[in-house]
Amino acid sequence: DGFGLGRDATPDEVAAWDIDVRPDGQGLPEGRGTVAEGEEIFTAQCAVCHGDFGEGVGRWPNIAGGQGSLADEDPVKTVGSYWPYLSTVWDYVHRAMPFGNAQSLTDDEVYALTAYILYLNDVVLEEDFELSHENFTEIRLENEDGFYMDDRDTLEVPQLTGEPCMEACKPSVEITMRARVLDVTPDTADDDAAAAPAAETAAAEPAPEAPAEESVAALDPELVAAGERAFRQCSACHQIGEGATNRVGPHLNDLFGRTAGEIDGFNYSRPFQEAGEAGLVWNDETIAAFLADPRNYVKGTRMSFRGLKSEDDAAAILAYLKSFDE
């Protein structure tokens, strides 16, 4: 019976896609990693968003602390305070992290990162603690019993069912709060208005002395501002501007004229180093070509970016990058 459609999945195919892990340990591969190993990976690949101590940068998630805060007015929900199962950490880091370079970590690296996240949350206390498939299910998180099945049907629905009042339902009405007081609604009349301050900043920023011939003098503030918006898709991995450091990707200050793979202390992929040795220097043409199709332009690059489709975006990003060129 059935329709006779589809074909059998091969064991290799199932193994390639069936990566999920459950609280009982089903799906965990063999492997191991220590807190200290995890710290090194975390600093290089995760701290740019999650902070050196898992505290979260800007609006990126904090993943440590908050224990005992769940009933507070401002609860802090982290792996340590809120998540019920450690398997969720392993599964999520492995399937979706680092942001912008998913499924790039080895199983051992995921064990090490998971161990380090336990350490950040004081679940384990020693830097030489090693997490592995053998001791994984022995680790329990504090809030495992803090969850219960949806009880709206029994608790709420009976109170909210029945014929509602239609006449003289209350004696009087007062306004108690106005959204306008907070004034956090995006400007809907003109979406570009929000970007105006950024344009002013960028326009004010280029260094007055010795502009490189092809760049700063000709920069269009509107294009730079558009570039700043378009650069958001890069900013998860690349920093630019004052204080920018290498993160998942190298910093992008003074990019023009830089040889591919030349930043000290950044761990480039081998194809990238080879491209630099072969003479790849970043300029308008090479950057635009790389951004249009990174994986074909430098085959084997670790940069997991799909490529810019719009030439307008490419021009804007080039202008934005140039605004950080000395």
């Binding site: 059935g2 329709f3 459609l5 589809g6 059998d8 999945a9 195919e13 199932v14 896609w17 069936d18 999920d20 459950r22 609280p23 009982d24 609006r59 769940l70 009933a71 609860p75 929900k77 792996v79 809120y82 998540w83 019920p84 969720t88 399937r95 979706a96 942001f99 998913a102 803090g146 969850f147 219960y148 099945m149 949806d150 009880d151 629905v157 909210l160 029945g162 239609m166 006449e167 003289a168 339902c169 209350k170 009405v173 306004i175 108690t176 709060m177 106005r178 959204a179 306008r180 907070l182 956090v184 609604t185 995006p186 809907t188 979406d191 929000a194 958001r232 900013s235 997991s304 799909r306």
Partner: protein, 388 residues
């Protein structure tokens, strides 16, 4: 004398317009360029993992146009090549199977209209009125007609083992989104969909294939669906532990809060759609929906809930779909406190925000279906307010 719009010959009445070859895929009039999805930049760290909002205040009827359906991505829009598309079913099945898109198109199809609402819709309003516009307070919803295969048929094709109790859909994007769904729901009304409003799914809605989980929170409607695993217990993955769980005042949290409660909102007038015509005959309109069934009735109040009037429903009424309501009245130009209140086919009545806070406190983020208030002043300007 007379209106120049009538007495003068307009350019479009004199000159020839573009031919049939000018717009092979039609787009809205340039005069409608303001009718777009919008996002709230301060809400999230990065637009790649964020949400945009449906411009409800500009729409009518019950169907959301494909290009205006709100978006929620966790790792941006996956651009999946349909030729490389595969759907795998594995786990507790007799035969793990792989389907191509062509295989899926050979199963019997169904057409059904459903709303998809993010569990976090109105979530910014738990602690009080924040955002001035129903696009932002209620725009994490859309309502389209899906064409798809009953998920039951695909599971039966693989042969579900008797020990199975849950399924886990998984996305092909860089977030590899996963959720646990009880097998009972999967065998009941879920669809594996490949069309919306008659055409292929948009990339931002999961092209080429997404899961449809009627009446349940949008996060479960996995886009770019690549795999369905069958299991005997839930997976407790990130989107059903860290997120999409509802923290209660005692510090404990509800989990698996799947159903979307009955809800409604007046879309016009509203802060982005003020009354501009002055006193006189005025149309109030809005939408209502329920994850438990159809909407049988919507009431509207002009005075902040002292007196209610039954609104007029218009348009098809489907289970777990949006419904459109109207209330026409003669505005005397005095300030209004507008609210709508939905009642669904189970008799559930949309609660006030005050009642919801009494039941759930302020930290639950998700499932805020409280009654929305717009204050309209003498000029017809509307504002998001809370009232006693």
């Amino acid at each position: 004398a007379g209106d120049p719009a009538i007495t003068q010959v307009q350019p479009w009445a004199q000159m020839l317009g573009e031919g049939v070859d000018a717009r092979p895929y039609g787009t809205p009039s340039p005069f409608e360029a303001h009718v777009v999805r919008r996002n709230v930049p301060w809400l999230t760290a990065d637009p790649v993992s964020s949400v945009s909002f449906t411009p409800l205040h500009e729409l009518d009827g019950i169907i959301t146009p494909n290009g205006l359906c709100f978006e929620r991505h966790h790792a941006g829009i996956a651009e999946v090549d349909p030729g490389e598309y595969r759907l795998m079913i594995n786990g507790l099945v007799d035969r793990p199977l792989v389907f191509t898109l062509q295989d899926l198109l050979r199963f019997p199809r169904e057409n059904r209209v459903y709303f998809l609402e993010c569990a976090a819709n109105s979530g910014m309003e738990w602690r009080g009125s924040q955002l001035n516009g129903c696009q932002f307070t209620h725009g994490m919803i859309h309502n389209v007609m899906y064409t798809g295969i009953p998920l039951r048929l695909l599971l039966e094709e693989a042969g579900v083992k008797t020990s199975a109790a849950w399924i886990m859909p998984e996305g092909a994007d860089a977030a590899a989104m996963t959720r646990s769904i009880p097998l009972e729901k999967a065998m009941d009304d879920c669809l594996v969909a490949f069309r919306m409003n008659g055409e292929a799914l948009r990339p931002e809605q999961g092209y080429p294939v997404r899961l449809v989980v009627p009446g349940w929170e949008g996060n479960m409607w996995v886009k770019w669906l690549r795999r369905i695993e069958v299991g005997d217990q839930p997976w407790h993955h990130r989107e059903e532990t860290s997120a999409y769980t509802d923290l209660m005042p005692d510090g404990r949290a509800r989990r698996f809060t799947w159903v979307m409660d009955a809800k409604s909102v007046i879309t016009s007038p509203s802060p982005q759609a003020p009354i501009t015509h002055g006193p006189g005959h005025t149309v109030i309109t809005g939408v209502a929906w329920s994850g438990r069934g159809a909407i049988l009735r919507v009431d509207v109040t002009l005075d902040g809930g002292i007196t209610w009037h039954q609104a007029r429903m218009s348009g098809p009424s489907f289970d777990k779909s949006m419904h459109r309501f109207y209330y026409e009245f003669d505005w005397d130009g005095r300030p209004l406190l507008l609210q709508s209140r939905a009642m669904d086919s189970t008799g559930y009545v949309q609660p006030t925000k005050e009642k919801l806070r009494e039941l759930r406190g302020l930290s639950s983020i998700y499932h805020n279906n409280g009654i929305q208030t717009w204050a309209v002043n003498e000029q017809g300007v509307a504002e998001n307010v809370e009232i006693s």
